[in-house]
């Protein structure tokens, strides 16, 4: 009787253990049996080092969390039963501070299927081109989809850093949680005011376009044929498109009147002059 009971208990225990073993996700050591070079390389990356810092356990199961291999993958390795690029859920399981904020900052990205790995997708074997773990420098990365914006940076006047275009992330807060996100929410010029703080106001006499649509009413920040990055080459063209009752003494055939901002210098808003004369 005792022997039967022991056999039964032993059998149950073995069964339970085998079930547990089946449910246990493979560790990186299991993966290293075939992908030794990839696992070793990953451990050396900033991502791998960060995981190890938080917990060796996180690093140990990182392959399974990101690539979600089906149990069959261990038996019959194939790209069909493993996820080559991690799903958004896998990234968010650790990076919870990004949860939801991305969708508010850039609603077009999730709509077009742009997830974390569209940008943060370096090979484990090739070092990332830029931080944080970006597949390319931000300008090239964003420009690969936003080609029109990238091309505008080639116009004579543009926001530049050194000899090249300014990094897109200096203005565009993709994840939406930094002070730049706050400025964007405040509108009236939004993120431009992070550098151009003197244009923020409020002013005694505000200029309506700025209050309504911010800087982009008149400026095209990526590049322009106008040195002040205006959406028109000639200042007078831009002003006259809205202002249709300009007094007749503004004789446009005279050079002195062709640049409205010579006299109306405080176009972003004035604390003295309702017609934005130099303060």
């Amino acid at each position: 009787m005792k022997a039967r009971a022991l056999l039964l208990i032993g059998g149950l225990a073995l069964g339970a253990l085998s079930l547990l073993a089946e449910e246990k996700a493979p560790s990186k050591d299991d993966c290293a049996a075939c992908h030794e070079d990839v696992v070793k390389a990953f451990e050396q990356t900033a991502h791998g080092a960060a995981m190890a810092r938080r917990s060796p356990e996180i690093l140990a199961r990182s392959c399974a969390v990101c690539h979600a291999p089906a149990p069959a993958h261990l038996e019959e390795p194939s790209t069909a039963n493993v996820r080559r690029k991690p799903a958004e859920e896998a990234c968010l399981s650790c990076h919870q501070d990004r949860l939801g904020s991305l969708a508010l900052a850039t609603p077009g990205h999730p709509r077009s299927g742009v997830s974390c790995t569209a940008c943060h997708a370096p090979s484990h074997l090739v070092p990332p081109a830029a931080e944080p773990m970006l597949a390319a420098a931000p300008t090239n990365l964003c420009g690969s989809c936003h080609r029109a914006e990238a091309a505008r940076f080639r116009l004579p006047y543009a926001h530049r850093e050194g000899a090249g275009p300014m990094d897109c992330t200096r203005c565009h807060d993709v994840h939406g949680l930094s002070p730049r996100g706050r400025l964007s929410q405040a509108k009236d010029g939004g993120v431009c005011l992070d550098c151009h703080t003197e244009k923020a106001g409020p002013f005694v006499y505000p200029h309506a376009p700025q209050r309504l649509d911010g800087c982009l009413s008149c400026h095209t920040p990526h590049g322009s044929a106008n040195p002040r990055l205006l959406v028109r080459r000639q200042v007078a063209d831009l002003c006259l498109e809205c202002h249709s009752r300009v007094p007749a003494f503004h004789n446009l055939s005279s050079a002195r009147y062709r640049d409205c901002t010579r006299c109306h210098a405080e176009v972003h808003g004035s604390n003295r002059s309702p017609v934005f004369f130099q303060e």
Partner: protein
């Protein structure tokens, strides 16, 4: 005029030398210290307009610290305890950057960031318009974060932005233009406290900030003569004691929740900014060079403005069965501003030594500007594995009420907008993704005269990995907007399309790309000229860019370069140019390297040769990784 940059350059040079010395000494001495330091010299061959080149690029010829990285990690391993990064320090580049990170424990994180920029504007449009900018802006950000609790993270941050230097402008007075110089003195400071939860089912954050902006710009005349040089009247004195100060507190709240069925995000924002502006401004004109008399204008004014802004953004996604999901987006923003200006305007005319005539005019003006924006969108999306489709409706309402001055007419308008969006994608894994989206929006009534009545936008994209490292992407975006001739006769079109073919070696040792892009913007807007006659504002941009580039590493030698041809053949301001960058690096023993680089920039305007330039910069950089 370059005095605005001189202190900055001095500081950068000192910082560069100090950091270089620190890096090399520390690198040799300390265990666990890793780093990289690269310094060099850039020469420049000038051809054409230096002012035009500097206005576009502001690059120069001098020694510079290209990059410095120092990282100290505990011998036992783990993350860097200390990290210092600096790049582009020195004279040739208009931008300078530095980052400092200190993490003594896993719980504490200190960060400091510095970004500096020298701005230059030196285009002389005409002798009667001597505008010029020589100023620098320096931005500092510092933060300390405590992440030692399981439940929450707290961050204290400070940032400062400071602009100093000179801008040359013109002052209109006595029917003439006089050159003047404005010495800039502007400073923005902001402190903020942020609290974020980490473990609650609904992640929350709260952020409170307080900012202050101060401006004390000062004027002075440049010479006193008018710009034509023929007017006998002189600008004798020009001064101001005006000081503007804005307090800007703001509060932000956010809540995020996500599970298998729901994805909800919401943020709310409130700020109340207060402006105080007070001070004297005086202009004194010597009529006939002082022989006839003197006219003085004095303004003693105090202005104030208050602006309340409330904003909220909301997004919810509900995932249904069968790959379907519903998305709702909502945005709200209300901004109310009130302002007033009070004081006295004085005009004094007289001859030296004799009593003159004084006229005074009290100033008492009040205005307001209120904007109320609301928008919402409801979309349905279907994810069918390889096929995706989405579509939805959106609507918005803008209410605007303003009166700029007490004597001016009040403006009040409500504007409604509605539209739809349809999109789809075919995603065949890494091999191919083809997607397209069409959006149509229509608008009722007008706030600004150039507001559109309809906007149509079509975007098409194809991305393909052809295999063996080859990738091809094709893109097109087409936009049309208009409003009727009864309003302004706006007719706007913007088309952008391009193709890029690239190849990358899987090991990252070599790669090449070829890209061509075409951008066409045409905006025709009816004008009413100051005399009352009709005219047309016609903006025509036809931009072609053709770029080829590549990189390769062979043994210890690596090379990368790009060559770009730019041509704008539009009718507004046709121009063309070349941009070329090349760099060769030879890796030496013990982490050393030598780089040679060359940059070519050329610019040709079709209608004028005054701004044309051809510049070549070249140089050498010595680096050491330790």
């Amino acid at each position: 005029m370059d005095d605005g940059e001189a202190p900055m350059r001095k500081m950068m040079r000192s910082a560069a030398v100090a950091l270089f010395a620190l890096g090399t000494a520390a690198g040799a001495a300390a265990q666990g210290l890793q780093g990289d330091v690269a310094a060099g010299y850039a020469w420049m061959d000038e051809g054409g307009s230096l002012s035009s080149f500097r206005t576009q690029y502001n690059l120069g010829e001098a020694s510079f610290l290209e990059a410095l990285t120092l990282e100290w990690t505990r011998p036992s391993g783990g993350p860097p305890v200390f990290s210092l990064k600096a790049w582009d320090l020195g004279d040739p580049a208009p931008d300078h950057h530095g980052r400092l990170l200190f993490q003594p424990t896993a719980a504490w994180r200190f960060e400091v960031a510095y970004d500096g920029r020298n701005s230059f504007y030196g285009l002389q449009d005409s002798p009667v318009n001597p505008r010029a900018d020589r100023w620098s802006i320096e931005r500092w950000r510092a933060s300390v974060a405590y992440d030692g609790w399981n439940a929450a993270r707290i961050t204290l941050a400070f940032r400062q932005s400071q602009r100093e230097g000179d801008v040359d402008r013109v002052l209109y007075g006595l029917n003439a233009f006089y050159p003047m110089r404005v010495r800039l003195d502007e400073r923005f400071r902001e402190g903020s406290l942020r609290f974020e939860t980490k473990t609650l089912p609904v992640r929350l954050f709260f952020e409170q900030s307080f900012g202050n902006f101060d401006r004390e710009n000062r004027w002075r005349p440049l010479g006193g003569r008018d710009l034509s040089g023929h007017d006998p009247d002189l600008l004798g004195r020009l001064a101001t004691t005006q000081k503007d100060s804005v307090d800007l507190p703001s509060t932000r709240l956010g809540a995020f929740f996500r599970n298998a069925r729901w994805d909800v995000a919401a943020t709310a924002f409130y700020s109340r900014s207060d402006l105080d502006s007070a001070g004297l401004s005086s202009k004194v004109f010597e009529v006939g060079g002082g022989t006839i008399g003197q006219i003085s204008y004095l303004e003693d004014l105090a202005g104030s403005a208050t602006q309340d802004t409330r904003a909220a953004d909301f997004r919810a996604v509900f995932r249904l069965e069968g790959g379907w999901s519903l998305r709702f987006l909502g945005n709200y923003r209300r901004s109310d501003a009130d302002s007033d200006l009070m004081g006295l305007l004085l005009l004094h005319a007289g001859r030296p030594g004799l009593p003159g005539l004084t006229l005074s005019l009290p100033k008492d003006d009040r205005g307001f500007f209120n904007v109320n924006d609301r928008s919402a969108a409801l979309e349905a999306a279907w994810d069918g594995g390889a096929f995706h489709a989405w579509g939805g409706l959106f609507a918005g309402r803008r209410g605007v009420d303003y009166r700029r001055s007490q004597d001016g007419a009040a403006f009040s308008q409500d504007r409604n907008t509605s539209g739809y969006r349809l999109g789809g994608a075919w995603d065949a894994g890494d091999r191919l993704r083809l997607d397209g989206e069409f959006e149509h929006g229509s608008f009722e009534r007008y706030v600004l005269r150039v507001d559109p009545e309809t906007v149509d936008r079509l975007t098409l994209r194809l991305r393909s990995r052809l295999g063996r490292g080859w990738s091809l992407s094709l893109q097109g975006r087409f936009e049309r907007a208009d409003n009727p001739s009864s309003q302004r006769g706006l007719d706007h079109s913007a088309d952008a399309y391009g193709a890029r073919l690239s190849w990358d070696d899987p090991q990252g040792k070599a790669g090449a790309h070829l890209a061509v892009d075409r951008n066409r913007i045409r905006t025709r807007t009816d004008l009413v000229l100051p005399g009352g006659e009709a005219s047309l504002s016609d903006y025509d941009l036809r931009l072609w860019t053709l770029e080829a580039g590549g990189y390769v590493t062979v043994g210890r030698l690596s090379f990368d370069g790009t060559l770009l041809r730019i041509k704008d053949s539009g009718g507004t301001w046709p121009s063309s140019g070349w941009v070329g960058d090349g760099r060769a690096t030879l890796a030496g023993p013990k982490g050393t390297r030598l780089s040679l680089f060359a940059q070519r920039r050329s610019y040709d305007e079709v209608r004028s040769a005054a701004g044309d330039f051809r510049f070549t910069r070249y140089g050498a950089v010595i680096g050491w990784r330790f």
